[in-house]
Structures are given as structure tokens and as C-alpha cells.
């Protein structure tokens, strides 16, 4: 890969950030409400305010300027990496995000890890089993997992495993045990996505000629699946990393509320209801930046993970090796996520990420 490619990808990333910033700025401006009045009326009880004081505070936050001036001002601050101060809490935005980040990262990482295990187990079992009823049941699970409201799942888990059987604490982030139920709750929709995609691509891989070849050379179904078909099928699944990361972040809003956890989701929710514009923008930009980064890393490392390259490196002498390479090519393409395709759509749809992308979310 050359520098020119890298520079163009970085420029694309910056473009995405600028669009995210501008969209969120104008959206927040368009919302009814006045952040200064909101801040002063934080008690919620009816109050009237000294107009002079309100005007002074509006000036302090540059809210008295024309929209375009406010926008340019905010953009200027952004370029200088000054994200401003939360209107409601008085803390710098970067500090507020930094305080909320570790708990959300721990939650998202654990949930993604769990989801990967659950999703793989479901897909592999559904592919391997010779019992139609089991296959049909397992194949229906992802649909159910996506359809179940996260909110409800969380409350049910709490009801059973915290209130009835006191295994896990219901409140807070204090102990390691407190992360278990939230992570399981968040993992359910994520594992459903993984299981769905993986099951499809496993089925695709399963009908490829190389499977027949391996079966003929005496491979057992399990060994064949784990050693040959799964690596081929995982690649398109792992390109879902970006989507999964987005899902995890969106899911954290609900999960963090149900489980009373500190985190980015809760922070975003309170910032939006309180119209804390600098804080909302900080969170939007942060999420967009991580998203861009995840996709960039995905695209840059994709060739390293491509099985065709690995296959070439191993310099397989047997004819079956060539068949494998061809087969993987086809299997890959059929899942609609070839490296070239992913690069083209990354910036806009942000639909690609690899295993590295998931690790990126963890770090």
C-alpha cells in the first residue's frame, strides 16, 4: 500500500468527521430550546430569569451570534482541538468523555467477545447438525435475538439473577460482577448479527467444491468445518466489525440506563435531554472518529488477513491448495464483502471492519 492511498483515506476520514460535526451542529441548533434557559432552569420548577443575566450568559457561550458565526466559531475551536465545556456540569467535554469512556469500553469489549463466542457456537452447531429441527431452531435464534428489546431483556435478567437469585448486583459499576448482566444483555443482539452472517457464509462455504475434495480425502465434518470452512466464512463476518461497534455503542445507551452504569451512552442521553450542545458534539465527534479509525484499520490490515495471501505464503504443493484459494475467492465474493468492495463503501456506509477492528474498540 502506498502513501498516496493512505493520505486519501485520511482525507476521507476527516471529511466524515466534518460532516458529522456539521450535521450535529445544525440539528442541535434546529431543536427547540435554549441551552442557557435550560441551564438556569435546571431545578425544573417554574422560574423567571433576569433578562440581562440571560443575555450575559448567552454571550458567554457565543449563543447571541448569528448561526453562521457560531458555526465557524465552533469549527475553529474544533480545529484547535478545543471541545469546550459542558454547559450543565461545568467540566471540560474531553474530561467528561474520558471519565465515561473506560466503563463503556469494558462493557462493549466484553459484550463483543461474548457475542463472538455465542454467535460462532450457534452458527457452527447449526451447520454441523444433522437434525433438521435443531438446525431450524438455531437458525431462528438470530431473528429472535434481534427482535427482543434490549430494555426488556435487561430488566428480565435483573429480575431473575439479581432480585430473585442474588448472584449479581443490580446497581453500579463498583465490582467486576456488576458488568456480567449488562454485557450479556448487550451481547444478545450483537451475537444475533454474528450468528446470522456467519451461518449464511458457512452455508455458502459448505457447498463449495473444496469441501467435497476434503471430505473425499477423509476429513471429518467437524475438522473440515473448523480448519477449513470457518476461517473462510469468518472473514465476511469480521468485516461487520464497524457495524457491530456502532450497535454496541447504540446499545450502551439503553443498557447503561437499565443497569445504572456510568458510560458514554448515559452521558449522551443526559446531554441530549439537557441540550448540552458542546457535550453532545464532543460525543458525536468521538464516536465518528472511532468509527473512521476502525474502518481505516480494517482496510489497511485486510490484505494481511486475506486467506488467499496466507494460502500463497504457505506455498501449498498439492492441487487441493489451488482449489482452496479459488474456492475462498468465490465464497468471499458471494458474501458481498471483498476487500475492494469494502474500500469503496467504507467512508459512507462504514460497513467494514475486521478482527483488528474489534480489537480497536477494545483499546
Amino acid at each position: 500500500m502506498n502513501l498516496r492511498y493512505l493520505a486519501s483515506r485520511l482525507a476521507q476520514g476527516l471529511l466524515v468527521l466534518w460532516i458529522a460535526f456539521s450535521l450535529s451542529f445544525f440539528l442541535l441548533y434546529w431543536l427547540p430550546g435554549d441551552p442557557v434557559i435550560t441551564m438556569l432552569g435546571a431545578g425544573g420548577e417554574l422560574q423567571s430569569f433576569d433578562p440581562a443575566e440571560v443575555a450575559r450568559l448567552r454571550a458567554e457561550f457565543h449563543l447571541d451570534q448569528p448561526l453562521i458565526v457560531q458555526y465557524l466559531f465552533a469549527l475553529g475551536n474544533l480545529v484547535r482541538l478545543d471541545f469546550g465545556t459542558s454547559i450543565q456540569a461545568g467540566t471540560p467535554v474531553t474530561e467528561a468523555i474520558a471519565a465515561a469512556l473506560p466503563s463503556t469500553l469494558a462493557l462493549a469489549a466484553l459484550a463483543l467477545g461474548l457475542a463472538l463466542i455465542i454467535g460462532t457456537v450457534i452458527a457452527v452447531t447449526a451447520t454441523l447438525t444433522r437434525r433438521p429441527w435443531l438446525r431450524d431452531t438455531l437458525a431462528a435464534l438470530p431473528g429472535l435475538g434481534v427482535a427482543l428489546p434490549t430494555f426488556w431483556v435487561g430488566l428480565m435478567l435483573l429480575q431473575v439473577f439479581s432480585f430473585r437469585i442474588p448472584l449479581f448486583p443490580a446497581v453500579g459499576t463498583g465490582t467486576p460482577a456488576a458488568i456480567v448482566l449488562p454485557a450479556v444483555t448487550l451481547a444478545i443482539p450483537l451475537s444475533a448479527i454474528i450468528a446470522q452472517v456467519l451461518f449464511r457464509s458457512l452455508q455458502n462455504a459448505w457447498i463449495q467444491p473444496f469441501v467435497t475434495t476434503y471430505t473425499a480425502s477423509g476429513y471429518t465434518r467437524l475438522r473440515l468445518l473448523l480448519r477449513q470452512a470457518l476461517p473462510v466464512a469468518l472473514l465476511p463476518t469480521l468485516t461487520m466489525g464497524g457495524v457491530l461497534f456502532g450497535q454496541a455503542l447504540a446499545g450502551s445507551v439503553v443498557v447503561e440506563n437499565v443497569f445504572s452504569r456510568q458510560g458514554l451512552g448515559r452521558l449522551a442521553q443526559t446531554a441530549v435531554t439537557g441540550q448540552d450542545i458542546p457535550l453532545v458534539q464532543g460525543i458525536v465527534l468521538f464516536a465518528a472518529a472511532v468509527f473512521v479509525l476502525v474502518n481505516l484499520i480494517t482496510d489497511l490490515t485486510y490484505p494481511l488477513l486475506d486467506p488467499r495471501l496466507r494460502a500463497a505464503r504457505r506455498k501449498l504443493e498439492s492441487t487441493s491448495g489451488n482449489t482452496l484459494a479459488e474456492a475462498s475467492d468465490r465464497a468471499d465474493g458471494s458474501a458481498g464483502a471483498s476487500p475492494a468492495g469494502s474500500t469503496a463503501v467504507t467512508a459512507a456506509a462504514g460497513s467494514t471492519a475486521t478482527a483488528t477492528g474489534i480489537e480497536g474498540a477494545r483499546a
Partner: protein, 545 residues
């Protein structure tokens, strides 16, 4: 109807011991706060308070700003009350002002000069001394905060000078009579912080870093959307004269965790993971009581939940409409949709306000009277049952953010008299912005203060002027209340003002706002101070959850 028990402890009766305490309270002749009911006093022999333990309190919302001088949020003020003390304290039963950091005070007859004589040996949690200079410094800081300390500003309205002749004496001089100031000195909005707190910017103080008071608990750690922990101030030796004990607090500490989901708070309380749920939903009350847990409640003093008409509004400007709304609400029926611990309004002021007087005869349900008023004013019923006049429909949209499901019943009741009340629940941000614009016919809300001066402050044409009306008869009566320190006279004046306000239909009272708190069986002496915020100095933990 039960009453608050021992005045000194301010503790609250449990259903088991209600009759005995009620008798004691009757004997004390203190029925002022009838309507408060509650919990968690003592179990059998276990009456000696025990020391130790951390009280785990579940909050529903995060206190965004932790500085009690700036904030008006109950969640903040409940914490402020534990970490700061005030010059005076107000007896939640009688409304009387009692000594705290000031051991005595003198007020001039014109209610313009207030001199406080401070207690000796009071220290801030950073070991600096609390003196008259601290009082001056704090009150000046509140003035400097401007609109950010909107409650403080109204309390200090007209303050001309603060003199400190010696370390234990401080004199406030106002340029006009300000009788409400004495009660204001008992509020946590006028609680005291150390010099190092006051040197910070308003924003820094909000974060809770170095928020140092003189109170029985010190702010230890603030983690937004997670928990706020307080630890006991072991040097504390200057409780209010209303407190039940001396020396440091019983509890080792208090942890406020933020649990937004009502069902999670309820489940956590039932399973003993928290000791106190500060916001019990009415549907959960029965479950808690069935499990033997206690419900503690006290109506917020001040202006009740009410519809406030604007004289500038298109239909609210018609007095007949305003008066018809008062008559058109069946407040008895509202009892069926609110908590059994919450009462329908019987005046503009809640029962827990010291100067409260029952005006329920002015709020009687009279749908026929309401219809007649509207008929006479030319509002004729249309085909859809909604009245109209000169092609203008008798219809308004009320925006609100509060958890107020009873408004839906009000909506049905008003439809009976041909009034179309449309309800729109929005976020606080949107509602406050709409209210600031002032274009709506009616607003909805309440105002908490343990003094009827809130009437003057809120409805007075020279003050907030919530009705956006021209000065009138009521303003003369309200002005009179600032000049007298005689409580009987003040009560008579405020009652007259409340009657005038209702007579003009400037307030359409609905129900009282009551915080409903669930406590575990191990929680004893969980008490409310006069403004219905928590006073946890005497609270202790003991026995099984």
C-alpha cells in the same frame, strides 16, 4: 391522616406505631403538617440509635451541578443539606425558625436589619474557622453568581450591606423591608462553603471538586451518572437545635447512586441492594408495604402543582375561563390516580407550608357553575362539545415535562365543561424554552419553599409575575407581607393574597407535589427538613434489611 412524631427527632411514624405517635403528636397540639405519613422509626426494643454503616440511597436523576448555592434541583439540595449548615433551621412541624450556626438573632422593627450572633468553634471540613467573615464572603459570592443562583438572588433581594463588627456577629442591612430573609437563612441555598470553594469559578464548583462545607458529612467522590459518596465529618459538633443528638452523625457515610429505571430501584430496594428509593412509583407502593418496607413522604411546601394562566394569553385573559377551570376540576376524583400519600390541592399553597390555610371551599367541584360562567361569557358549545366564541375555540395546549399522569384525568374533566385541554409532554429543555418565550396561555408546575413568600415571589407583579398581569389589589397585600415579622399577621396576609389569587383565577391548583420515599427495615429516623429535603444527621442503620 397521621402526623410527624417527636418534634425534636422529626422522625416519622411507622404504621405499626402510628396510634401511639399520633396520640403524642395530638398532645403536642401539632397538627400543622397533617397529611404527612411515613415510616421507619424503631422496632420494639431496638430504640437506641446505632453508629456505623453506609446508607445506600438510589436517586432517579443525576445532579448535574453539585453546588447548592447555584442549583435548584432537589437531587442536589438533598446532598447540599448533608454537607453544609445554615445560620438557622426551620422546624418542619411548626414552621418556627430555630438556632443553628447562629445561636441568636435580632431583627429591627422595620424588617430591614438582621443581626446574627454566631456559634463558637465551628469549623469547615478543611479545618478553617467559620466566622462572620465566612458569612459575608458566602453571601457576596451568591450575589456574584447572579442568575446562576436564582433562588439566592430572590432571598437577598435589596441587600445593601453586610457588616462584621466582630468574628461572631454579622449584620445584614436591606434597603427595603424583607421579612422573608429570616426563613431564607435556614435554606441550603444559603448554606456555607469554605474560602477555597468560593475562590473557584461557578463551573468548577458545579463539578463538586473542593466543595467544602461545615456539615456532618463531607463530599468524598463524584462520579456522574454513577454515584456520589459522602463520608462522616468526625469533628462535627454543631448540629441544629432541632437535631435529636449531638456530636458526629450516626452514619459512616452516604452513597447516592443514580438508578434511572424505576423498576430497578424498586427491585434493588426489595432485594436489599439499596436502603432508600427516593422516587417510588405509585404502582409499587403496595408491593413495598406488603413486604413490610416503609413509605416515607412529605408534601413539598410552597406552591402546589397548578396551571398558571397568562393574562396576555388569547383565552387565559378571560377571567370567566380561568374561574371555570377552577370549578371544572374534580379534585376528589384525582385521588384515584395519584399515590395514596399524595393529596389534591386545597389552596395555592401546600399543607406543609407554614402559613397554609385550607381554602378548599374556593376549589369546590362545580361543573354546572363552570358551564354557566362560560355560557354567560359567550363561550357557546359547538357540535363537538367544545365551546367557542367569535369563531375561537376554547382550546389550549399545555406543555409540561413532569411525571404528572393525573393531568390526563384533568383533561377528561375539563372536556365535560367544553374545554379542550391538549397535553404535550416534552423534555425540560423544550418546556423551559417555551416558558421563557411566554407565548403560551397556560404553564404548569410547582415551586418549593417552606415560606409563603413564594406567593409574592412568583405571582407578584413586581417580581416574577407569572401571570404577566398588571399590578392590582393582590400586590398591595403581598407588599404588606414583607414588612411584618409577626407570624399571625403574615399568615393572615398570605391567606388574603391566596384568596385574591384564586378569586381572579390566577392559579388553578391541581394536586400537591409529594416526594415518595421507600426505606428498608434497617433504616431508622430518615427525616425531612422544612422544605421536604432530607436531613440525614440523625438517621441510623440497624437490624435486618
Amino acid at each position: 391522616m397521621t402526623t410527624i412524631a417527636s418534634p425534636a427527632a422529626g422522625s416519622i411514624t411507622s404504621p405499626r406505631r402510628r396510634s401511639r405517635f399520633a396520640l403524642a403528636a395530638l398532645a403536642a397540639g401539632s397538627l400543622l403538617l397533617a397529611g404527612c405519613s411515613g415510616s421507619a422509626a424503631a422496632d420494639g426494643d431496638n430504640v437506641t440509635p446505632q453508629n456505623g454503616g453506609t446508607l445506600k440511597v438510589a436517586y432517579d436523576v443525576d445532579p448535574t451541578c453539585l453546588d447548592g448555592q447555584q442549583a435548584g434541583q432537589n437531587v442536589t439540595l438533598n446532598i447540599t443539606r448533608q454537607i453544609t449548615d445554615s445560620l438557622t433551621d426551620q422546624d418542619p412541624k411548626s414552621g418556627e425558625i430555630k438556632p443553628w450556626l447562629a445561636k441568636s438573632w435580632d431583627v429591627s422593627d422595620d424588617a430591614k436589619t438582621f443581626t446574627f450572633h454566631l456559634r463558637d468553634g465551628v469549623k469547615f471540613q478543611d479545618d478553617t474557622n467559620f466566622t462572620s467573615a465566612s458569612v459575608k464572603e458566602n453571601f457576596e459570592a451568591i450575589e456574584d453568581l447572579g442568575a446562576k443562583a436564582s433562588l439566592g438572588q430572590t432571598y437577598l433581594d435589596g441587600l445593601k450591606s453586610i457588616a462584621t463588627p466582630d468574628k461572631q456577629t454579622v449584620t445584614f442591612t436591606f434597603d427595603k423591608a424583607n421579612a422573608q430573609f429570616l426563613q431564607a437563612t435556614s435554606t441550603m441555598n444559603l448554606g456555607f462553603y469554605a474560602s477555597k470553594t468560593l475562590k473557584q469559578t461557578a463551573e468548577q464548583r458545579c463539578t463538586g471538586d473542593d466543595l467544602v462545607g461545615t456539615g456532618p458529612f463531607a463530599l468524598d467522590k463524584v462520579e456522574h451518572n454513577k454515584a456520589i459518596s459522602l463520608t462522616r465529618n468526625d469533628d462535627y459538633d454543631w448540629p441544629s437545635s432541632l437535631a435529636a443528638h449531638e456530636g458526629p452523625a450516626h452514619l459512616d457515610g452516604i452513597e447516592f447512586s443514580i438508578v434511572p429505571e424505576a423498576s430497578v430501584r424498586n427491585g434493588s430496594l426489595l432485594s436489599g441492594q439499596v436502603d432508600v428509593d427516593t422516587s417510588v412509583q405509585s404502582q409499587d407502593e403496595k408491593t413495598l408495604e406488603a413486604q413490610g418496607l416503609d413509605i416515607v413522604s412529605r408534601a413539598n411546601p410552597g406552591v402546589v402543582y397548578n396551571l398558571v394562566p397568562k393574562a396576555t394569553g388569547t383565552i387565559a385573559s378571560d377571567k370567566a375561563v380561568r374561574k371555570a377551570l377552577i370549578k371544572g376540576i374534580d379534585r376528589e376524583q384525582l385521588k384515584t390516580v395519584v399515590s395514596e400519600h399524595q393529596a389534591p390541592a386545597t389552596s395555592v399553597l401546600a399543607k406543609s407550608t407554614p402559613q397554609y390555610e385550607d381554602l378548599s371551599d374556593l376549589l369546590a367541584y362545580d361543573p354546572d357553575g363552570a358551564k354557566k360562567l362560560l355560557d354567560d361569557a359567550g363561550w357557546k358549545e359547538g357540535a363537538d362539545g367544545i365551546r367557542a366564541k367569535d369563531g375561537k375555540k376554547l382550546k389550549t395546549t399545555l406543555t409540561y415535562w413532569q411525571d404528572a399522569p393525573f393531568l390526563e384525568l384533568v383533561q377528561q374533566q375539563l372536556r365535560e365543561i367544553g374545554f379542550d385541554l391538549q397535553l404535550e409532554k416534552k423534555t425540560i429543555a423544550e418546556v423551559t424554552a417555551l416558558q421563557a418565550e411566554g407565548k403560551e396561555d397556560f404553564t404548569f408546575g410547582n415551586l418549593t419553599r417552606s415560606d409563603a413568600d413564594i406567593l409574592r415571589n412568583y405571582f407578584g407583579a413586581d417580581e416574577q409575575n407569572a401571570n404577566a398581569r398588571k399590578p392590582g389589589e393582590v400586590d398591595k397585600v403581598l407588599a404588606r407581607t414583607t414588612e411584618t415579622l409577626d407570624e399571625d399577621e403574615r399568615k393572615a396576609d398570605f391567606t388574603e393574597a391566596a384568596k385574591l389569587i384564586l378569586d381572579e383565577g390566577y392559579s388553578i391548583p391541581v394536586v400537591e407535589l409529594t416526594g415518595i420515599v421507600g426505606t428498608g427495615k434497617n433504616v431508622h429516623d430518615f427525616t425531612f427538613e422544612a422544605s421536604s429535603r432530607y436531613q440525614l444527621y440523625d438517621t441510623w442503620l440497624g437490624g435486618e434489611h
